[in-house]
């Protein structure tokens, strides 16, 4: 320890203890550190230093590989995202518009169904009027046969109705 450092150490101690005590403390530290200087510690083995350097190099390589893998992963995720986005846009663009003919066909089906309903209603009305005529005695001839005919017609109409 040089003289300047010794003086600085004494000044530092003076902040906590009196002048004489500070001088003694600085001297104790100086002498204690002198003992440490006189007894040098062993040096690390050359082989150990070489191993440490090799270990550091391996660690750095591993670190670089890891960061490269992470970068590649991030790029792959970004590429996949872009690809999905492009495919989605393309799909959206190529969705076929509904042809006008479809609507016409639906309308036709609806109308034909309506026609069938009208026929059915007309038949039921006819049966109803026949029944009323028979009840009021307007219908002459064999009453039993007439009733059977009407029943048959009614069953047939009913069957048509449930068939759609």
């Amino acid at each position: 320890m040089n003289e300047r450092n010794e003086k600085k150490l004494k000044e530092l101690f003076e902040k906590f203890v009196g002048g004489e005590q500070a001088e003694q403390a600085a001297e104790d530290i100086q002498k204690g550190e002198q003992i440490l200087r006189e007894h040098s510690s062993p040096e690390p083995d050359g082989g150990l230093i070489a191993n440490i350097k090799a270990e550091i190099a391996a660690k750095l390589l591993h670190k670089k590989e890891k960061s490269f893998r992470w970068m590649a992963y991030k790029m792959a995720v970004a590429a996949a995202f872009i690809l999905i986005a492009v495919i989605s846009v393309k799909l959206f663009e190529t969705v076929p518009e509904r042809p006008a003919g479809d609507l016409t066909a639906q309308k036709a089906i609806w109308e034909s169904q309506s026609l069938a309903d009208e026929t059915l209603t007309a038949e039921m009305e006819q049966i109803e009027s026949d029944m009323l005529a028979m009840e009021s005695g307007e219908n002459s001839g064999n009453g039993y046969e007439t009733v059977t005919d009407l029943e048959m017609k009614l069953i047939e109409t009913n069957g048509d109705f449930w068939k759609g």
């Binding site: 906590f16 403390a25 104790d28 550190e33 007894h39 062993p42 690390p44 550091i56 750095l60």
Partner: protein, 177 residues
């Protein structure tokens, strides 16, 4: 010892992952750090392991070094590694006193069992408590200022000064016996 500009360049190189810069750091600090570990453990094999562990940690942690004294930062890591090692050893023992005595005797036995020269200093250091011994070695090998050492140990500078003074005084007395 590397000049400040050189050290800044080397640290910059380490941060960018340059193996050569790390090699330079090893060349500059290995000897002092080895001395620090050896004086605390008294065991060459343990010191070898701790030194290797320190430099591997350095590679992992270099990006967290911002500014201030690199030596203080490096020795702070060394100090943490030493205390981790000590805790690992202590976990194997039952009571604190038994642990301490066994650890201290192991320090001496390790030296006695090998054919190394048994230096008196190492034996006497074993008679000083671990905390004070670590402080003495931190001060001696890191060459950090008292202010930096106090900051490293998270204690007031007055406490650091007082502990170091008592420790070195005791060491001197033991050496003179």
């Amino acid at each position: 010892m590397a000049k400040n500009n050189d050290l800044a360049r080397i640290i910059g190189g380490c941060k960018s992952g340059d193996a050569e810069s790390f090699s330079e750091v090893v060349d500059i600090y290995a000897s002092r750090l080895y001395g620090y570990f050896y004086r605390l453990t008294g065991d060459r094999e343990a010191s070898d392991d701790l030194l290797s562990e320190l430099f591997v940690k350095l590679v992992e942690k270099i990006s967290s070094f911002k500014d201030g004294s690199f030596e203080s930062w490096l020795f702070k890591i060394a100090s943490n590694i030493f205390y981790d090692y000590l805790r690992g050893k202590q976990r194997q023992k039952k009571s604190f006193e038994v642990r301490k005595r066994q650890f201290e005797s192991e320090v001496t036995e390790a030296k006695l069992s090998s054919n190394e020269r048994i230096d008196k200093l190492q034996t006497q250091l074993g008679r000083i408590d671990t905390d004070t011994r670590e402080l003495i070695m931190l001060r001696f090998y890191s060459q950090a200022s008292f202010k930096e050492i106090a900051a490293m140990r998270s204690e007031p500078i007055g406490t650091t000064l007082s502990k170091l003074h008592r420790g070195l005084k005791k060491l001197r007395e033991l050496m003179e016996c």
